[in-house]
């Protein structure tokens, strides 16, 4: 096959193939999440959810294979490791998210109910990758060093893990709001309360393994039977959709404005395609937040989500540290200075500081819980700014993306 043919094939494997497979898998998993909680009149639990879950798993595996194949073909098309530009970074972040989801979250922790949202994160990352699509091609010579493979793969892997942690952290905040509301409205009620208090002092918390759908969170399941639809309604009602939508819009805009500014820099009209990108990203994120609100009653307990977010960040943080250090080593080798306050270096360091802040807050009385949760969201915002903002808008030595 010729180079352009390989390039075309790699593009096809990415979009539509992998993107649509993972999107359908996401829908299947989200459906399974909601269906498994439907009790039948005879007292058994619906199995329709399980079929959808199996279908989702198969589709996710196929999508992962397609994505991995895309990376292989792209490697052949460009005749180099695909670690050279933003499109390629995004692809690997998405791959990391899906693989961590399938292997750790579904495989080891037996938490398929979270897979839908991890897939949502991966699909959105892939969609955003298409906004910065680059044809496979050769690299600048400065990138031709083994440090690139080490530094870039570590930083992209850590970014994928942080994406997973963001999904957990955002869901934790929503679920926590709902649980608090429920607890407050039912004096003496025990939904999640005891557990949340117990786990609060444990550094890494416990992630209870889920064995079968009906042993999950006994008290929630009980309430489910008692109140059913009413219970779900009340959980969702705890989260004001307007506030959620506006908050998500503003939060996303804190980063997504770079698409608009990039468009203006490229000489587009004020409301040109850069503006369209900016608005699209914002709307998609708001829709995702509203989807999460709908899913709140089906989510694991807030304490579990919090523990999972913490563990993911605790795992990713040393990898990110390592990546920043190798970046400094590479800079020393390549530019003769290990640190130059280049915007990319600075913001990668800032991301490190933000996640370090989260880890410290998690270990500090009065800061843990929701405060730490918000810090995790903020840290992810800083990461996204480091990734999109600095690459697209701010010129520096790293602006070859």
């Amino acid at each position: 096959m010729t180079q352009p043919e390989l390039a075309e094939l790699s593009r096809f494997l990415f979009e539509p193939l992998a993107l649509s497979l993972l999107t359908v898998s996401m829908v299947a998993y989200l459906y399974a999440m909601s269906a498994r909680h439907v009790p039948r009149p005879d007292g058994t639990v619906a199995t329709s959810g399980r079929r959808a879950e199996q279908a989702g798993f198969v589709l996710a595996v196929l999508g992962t294979i397609a994505l991995a194949a895309h990376i292989v073909v792209r490697t052949l098309a460009a005749e180099r490791m695909p670690l050279g530009n933003m499109f390629e970074f995004s692809t690997i972040i998405a791959l990391t998210t899906v693989v961590v989801g399938l292997v750790v979250v579904v495989g080891r922790l037996k938490r398929p109910d979270l897979m839908g949202f991890l897939l949502l994160g991966a699909v959105l990352t892939m969609g955003a990758a298409l906004l910065v699509y680059t044809e496979p091609g050769p690299l600048q010579q400065v990138l031709g060093t083994s440090w690139r493979a080490i530094h870039v793969s570590a930083i992209v892997f850590a970014a994928g893990l942080f994406t997973v942690a963001f999904v957990f952290g955002a869901l934790y905040l929503l679920r926590d709001t709902a649980e608090r509301h429920l607890r407050a409205s039912m004096p003496g009620g025990s939904v999640g309360a005891a557990r949340a208090v117990d786990l609060a002092d444990d550094d890494l918390g416990t992630v209870p393994q889920r064995t079968s759908p009906d042993t999950v969170e006994g008290d929630v399941a009980e309430l489910e039977e008692q109140f059913g639809k009413e219970h779900r309604r009340r959980m969702r009602a705890a989260i004001d959709p307007v506030r959620l939508a506006v908050g998500t819009l503003l939060g996303t805009s804190a980063v997504s404005w770079v698409f608009w500014v990039e468009g203006l820099r490229a000489g587009q009209d004020l409301f040109g395609s850069g503006f369209t990108r900016f608005v699209t990203v914002d709307i998609v994120m708001v829709l995702a937040a509203l989807l999460a609100r709908w899913a709140v009653p089906y989510l694991p307990s807030a304490a579990t989500l919090d523990a999972m977010a913490y563990r993911t960040i605790a795992f990713a943080f040393p990898i990110w540290s390592f990546a920043v250090i190798t970046g400094a080593i590479w800079a020393e080798q390549s530019w003769g200075r290990y640190w130059g306050w280049d915007p990319k270096e600075t913001s990668a360091f800032l991301t490190w500081v933000a996640y370090a802040g989260y880890l410290h807050a998690r270990a500090t009385r009065g800061m843990k819980g929701r405060n730490a949760g918000w810090l995790a969201i903020l840290a992810f915002g800083v990461l996204m700014f480091t990734y999109y903002g600095v690459n697209l808008v701010i010129s520096g030595l790293h602006s070859y993306a």
């Binding site: 091609g137 010579q141 440090w147 117990d198 444990d202 600075t346 500081v353 410290h360």
Partner: protein, 543 residues
């Protein structure tokens, strides 16, 4: 009061947050030490948000955040806060590492994890063997003297040194990094110089275009090596899709060190040359046109200038010839690939390869004021009169309106080299290694205690209770405890000389335990008796 405030974690987090916000601003606002030209454009209003905003930024030192007093003061405050946190922690860590012994459990059956089984061994023997086993598994032990709690007990602890020690190592590595950075700033040297192909330079302060010496760097610290640029090669991917991506960028150099050693080497991106502990990087390049200017038949300028690339792909330089009367100044733009179009006018492509170079000159007359400090590559046209503008092709010559001729006989290239001395890189690397070495156990090691109590059974053998509790990562400990109990049981099952039992039916039948199964209880959610909060404050992270 102020000291107490400073030692709080919340304070440290707030300082860190303020530093973070400053740093974020510094990523958005151009920084003078990094991109002085962009800052100048912002100040003059050519680019950026306008002069009014620019003045506000200047008031807050926004163009040099990392050098601003506020930034440095906060950094100092952060390190003070860190020190205030670390000193008591190190003291406590030292004490516990040397003398700390796990406490006995008053209520062994009410710990988080409890298992009971029977052993054919006497209680004392059980305790002795348990101690050996736990010591082998690198637990620190405390023996129970009998009158302590009224019965014998083995208390063991593990993980405190690696977790707290790792955390301390992680935080102490910042001091190593700080020392490395500050010392490196003071004793380091950075210099940039452009060298035209076929010529060279000597490592003295005057030879560099620009230098950033550390405060403790002296003229004597130059090593006086000589460098010749033998050949400089540059090429690009000449494909419309990826046009302009460099594919080759390297320089062959010959270096004569002060002691007379001669070495040849090739410098390319990522592969600097090391001379006397200094690294020579190839960072910049440009074209070096030779330009000859004659005024009335007399050559007033014949020289090679180093033209630098600009945003539109042209390479700009200037010629300043004070020998003419009045002075002649040329503003020069070189377009490397500007083939003639159908009507003969040059087609400017912006491509960097010199397939068809074109020189565009604007000639000025007047006082060049060369007694003032000037950029060699830029002609300050204030007070000068424009004489003429013209194109010159390589090998060609053109006569301007006032009779001056400009010739362009030769085109070579220059390479921008950077000489840097970073004496503390090794120290910084060590600091980074300490950081990672401390970080991993600080996050993953966990502190846990195990208690084993055996009570002699009048019928022979003893009843063994194993209890455990983790301070962090309770789920990891659950697995460890589940592994430990059978191991301990096996160890304590060893048949004494007169014992009749073998492994399968080791437990006497009248103790209420299954002989096959070990009764293991694990914590249930909401079990109030299981203490999940560490009882003493020392193991809480405070920094």
């Amino acid at each position: 009061m102020a000291w107490r405030w400073l030692t709080r974690m919340k304070t440290a987090l707030i300082i860190l947050a303020v530093l973070g916000v400053q740093t974020l601003l510094a990523t958005v606002v151009p920084q003078e030490p990094n991109v002085p030209a962009t800052v100048a454009d912002w100040r003059s209003g050519v680019a950026g948000p306008g002069t009014a905003v620019s003045q506000v930024i200047d008031v807050f030192g926004g163009y040099d955040v990392y050098g601003s007093p506020l930034f440095l003061a906060l950094l100092l405050l952060l390190f003070t806060s860190l020190t205030a946190c670390l000193v008591p922690r190190i003291r406590a860590f030292w004490r516990s590492a040397r003398h700390g012994r796990p406490p006995l459990s008053r209520n062994i059956t009410r710990q988080e994890h409890v298992a009971t089984f029977a052993s054919p061994l006497a209680a004392d023997e059980v305790h002795a063997r348990t101690r050996t086993l736990l010591a082998r598994r690198r637990h620190r032990l405390r023996s129970a003297d009998a009158d302590d709690l009224g019965d014998g007990q083995v208390a063991a602890e593990k993980g405190i040194v690696s977790r707290e020690g790792g955390s301390l190592l992680f935080h102490l590595s910042f001091y190593v990094l700080l020392v490395g950075i500050v010392l490196g700033q003071l004793t380091g040297f950075l210099g940039q110089v452009g060298v035209v192909e076929g010529s060279g330079f000597t490592d003295t302060s005057q030879a560099y275009w620009s230098t950033q010496p550390g405060r403790w760097w002296g003229y004597d610290d130059h090593t006086d090596f000589q460098l010749e640029l033998d050949e400089f090669r540059v090429d690009w991917v000449r494909d419309v899709r990826f046009g302009g991506t460099p594919s080759l960028f390297e320089a062959d150099v010959t270096v004569t060190e002060a002691d007379g050693d001669v070495r040849t080497d090739t410098i390319s991106p990522n592969v600097p040359m090391v001379v006397d502990g200094q690294k020579i990087h190839l960072l910049d390049w440009g074209y070096a046109p030779r330009i000859v200017v004659s005024d009335g038949g007399r050559v007033v300028w014949d020289g090679t200038t180093t033209a630098r690339v600009t945003d539109d792909g042209s390479f700009r330089t200037a010629v300043k010839a004070p020998g003419a009367d009045p002075d002649v100044g040329l503003a020069v733009a070189l377009y490397p690939w500007a083939p003639p179009g159908e009507d003969g006018t040059p087609q400017i492509t912006g491509a960097p390869w010199a397939d068809d170079p074109l020189l565009v000159v604007a000639a000025y007359r007047g006082d060049l004021r060369l007694d003032q400090v000037q950029d060699v590559n830029r002609l300050d046209t204030t007070g000068l009169d424009l004489v003429d503008t013209a194109f010159v092709r390589l090998g060609g010559e053109v006569e301007l309106a006032d009779g001056t001729t400009v010739a362009f006989p030769e085109l070579s290239r220059w390479a921008g080299l950077q000489v840097s001395r970073r004496p503390t890189v090794g120290l910084l690397l060590a600091g980074a290694a300490l950081l990672l070495a401390g970080l991993v156990p600080a996050l993953y090691a966990y502190r846990r205690r195990v208690w084993v109590r055996a009570v002699d059974d009048p019928a022979g053998g003893s009843m063994v209770t194993v209890a455990g509790r983790a301070f962090q990562r309770p789920d990891a400990f659950t697995g460890e405890f589940e592994d430990l109990v059978p191991l301990l049981r096996q160890e304590l099952d060893a048949v004494p000389e007169d014992g009749p039992d073998d492994h399968e039916d080791a437990a006497p039948d009248d103790r209420g335990t299954d002989d096959a199964a070990v009764a293991v209880t694990s914590p249930k959610g909401g079990d109030a008796s299981a203490p999940t909060t560490p009882t003493s404050g020392e193991e809480k992270v405070t920094t």
